[in-house]
């Protein structure tokens, strides 16, 4: 195995993935350090979601390697996945269970002690204490997303993957999510954020990378004012 940067949280080397005969990723590299937050932008079909799902372990690469906290992500190496939290646009909640039951189940899956207490505490922190005995279907989209984020990050993962989490969120909900993420980042979590919303990328990211047709086109620290940022990346962030 090639020597890797000892301090890196995430290391991706030569990642390849096709769907059918369409090659989405063609040998992608990526390194992320603890506390770093990277925003990935790019047009649709660039491979951003595929990249995230590969790192989350939901997809297997055709070639290449993914190491999280120095451990390779492989079939059978299931414990490595406990370092990752993934927030997608689906809530991943069961409609037949209450919010508490949903989160308690997640706690059990992650081997957390006292699953029910953990679930209640997390829902409380998310401002959902009074809705904990309700089913997801009875909540507004914004509240569902809040519950989904609480579920996804219940185990306090050092690596947080987010795929367009700000879609369909109103301003207040988006602000709340940003605050939550910032507090996690300050506790040395790392963030990989895929988004079209450049303002959110600017708020949260310390680094920005542009992915086009499965290849990096740019990868640089986030610098400058919001306006210059928007100008720089606007062309790539179009839907």
């Amino acid at each position: 195995m090639p020597s890797h940067d000892q301090g890196s949280l995430l290391e991706v080397r030569g990642l390849q993935r096709s769907f059918g005969r369409v090659r989405i990723l063609r040998g992608l590299d990526l390194t992320l350090r603890p506390g770093e937050s990277l925003a990935i932008i790019g047009p649709n079909g660039a491979g951003k979601t595929t990249l995230l799902r590969l790192i989350a372990g939901l997809l297997r690469p055709d070639a290449g390697q993914i190491c999280i906290q120095g451990q390779p992500l492989r079939a059978g190496a299931h414990r490595v996945r406990s370092a990752v939290g993934f927030v997608s646009h689906q809530t991943l909640l069961y409609d037949d269970l209450t919010l508490v039951e949903n989160l308690a189940f997640t706690a059990r899956l992650y081997g957390l002690r006292r699953p029910v207490e953990t679930a209640v505490a997390a829902l409380d922190a998310a401002g959902l204490a009074d809705r904990q005995s309700e089913r997801p279907k009875g909540l507004s989209r914004g509240l569902q997303q809040r519950a989904a984020v609480a579920r996804a990050l219940l185990h306090g993962p050092p690596l947080i993957l987010m795929d367009e989490p700000f879609n369909a969120l109103d301003a207040a909900a988006a602000q709340r999510l940003r605050d939550d993420l910032r507090s996690r980042l300050s506790r040395n979590a790392s963030l990989l954020l895929v988004t079209h919303q450049l303002a959110d990328a600017w708020e949260l990211a310390s680094r920005v990378a542009v992915l086009i047709q499965g290849r990096w086109v740019a990868d640089e620290p986030r610098s400058g004012s919001l306006d210059s940022f928007l100008l720089r990346y606007r062309e790539w962030a179009h839907d």
Partner: protein, 235 residues
């Protein structure tokens, strides 16, 4: 994975398959002639017994096709080589055809001799199951559109199906020992005269050639389809 200049030229493979199939079909005609003119007529069953020279090899080839589907499926899950998946699918399509041949010649043979169109004898029953397993396998493939998913899922069905066969065989056998039914569609017991055996062997070889030819042609067709889709996506 497959470069454009790959040696797997679909047209050549299809041609090879068709040539093989044609030879096999000629062989089949030869078998037909030999069976009718140069092989003795079976005493008890008369002329109708001659269908046995088609019926038995077809059943054998259906089982062969199915076993190869199972084997290719297991190898696919291990090696993830797409060629194994293509082969399994081709073998399944040819296998379902051979099962159908066996299942139609069976009643045609049974009716004049035993007065009944169908009997649940071991061979017919097993082939009927193979037919249904083939149908399930191909139906699942048709319902899945992502090629990798389709390959993985049908491989699982292929492996499980192959392991089902011994259980079918065993439970049907045990079932039948309790409810004896006319044992039809067997060569005249206890042993087969040499001329009949020769014709049977010849027919079996011809059928296996037919299997090979059809599978090769079908494989080539799959390659051609994939090439066409590639060109379509690119253009």
């Amino acid at each position: 994975m497959n470069s454009p200049a790959s040696p797997a030229d679909p047209k050549r493979i299809i041609r090879r398959g068709l040539v093989l199939s044609t030879i096999a079909l000629l062989g089949l005609a030869l078998v037909y002639v030999i069976a009718l003119r140069y092989t003795p007529v079976e005493a008890r069953q008369g002329l109708a017994q001659k269908i046995f020279y088609v019926h038995v090899p077809a059943a054998w080839c259906a089982l062969l096709a199915f076993s190869l589907v199972g084997l290719a499926s297991a190898l696919y899950l291990w090696l993830r080589d797409v060629r194994l998946d293509r082969f399994a699918a081709a073998s399944a399509e040819v296998g379902i055809a051979f099962s159908a041949v066996m299942l139609t010649t069976g009643p045609i043979w049974a009716k004049p001799i035993w007065g009944t169109w169908w009997t649940w004898d071991a061979r017919l029953t097993l082939t009927l199951f193979l037919f249904f397993l083939f149908v399930g396998y191909l139906a699942l493939r048709a319902a899945l559109h992502d090629p990798a998913e389709r390959a993985r899922f049908s491989a699982v069905v292929g492996i499980l199906g192959l392991l089902l066969v011994p259980f079918i065989h065993l439970s049907v056998y045990l079932f039948r020992t309790l409810h004896p039914q006319p044992i039809v569609l067997k060569p005249s017991a206890p042993s087969l005269p040499p001329e009949m055996l020769r014709t049977l062997l010849l027919s079996t070889v011809v059928f296996m050639l037919l299997y090979l030819g059809f599978v090769t042609a079908r494989y080539g067709l799959t390659l051609a389809e994939e090439a066409r889709e590639d060109a379509h996506d690119a253009g």
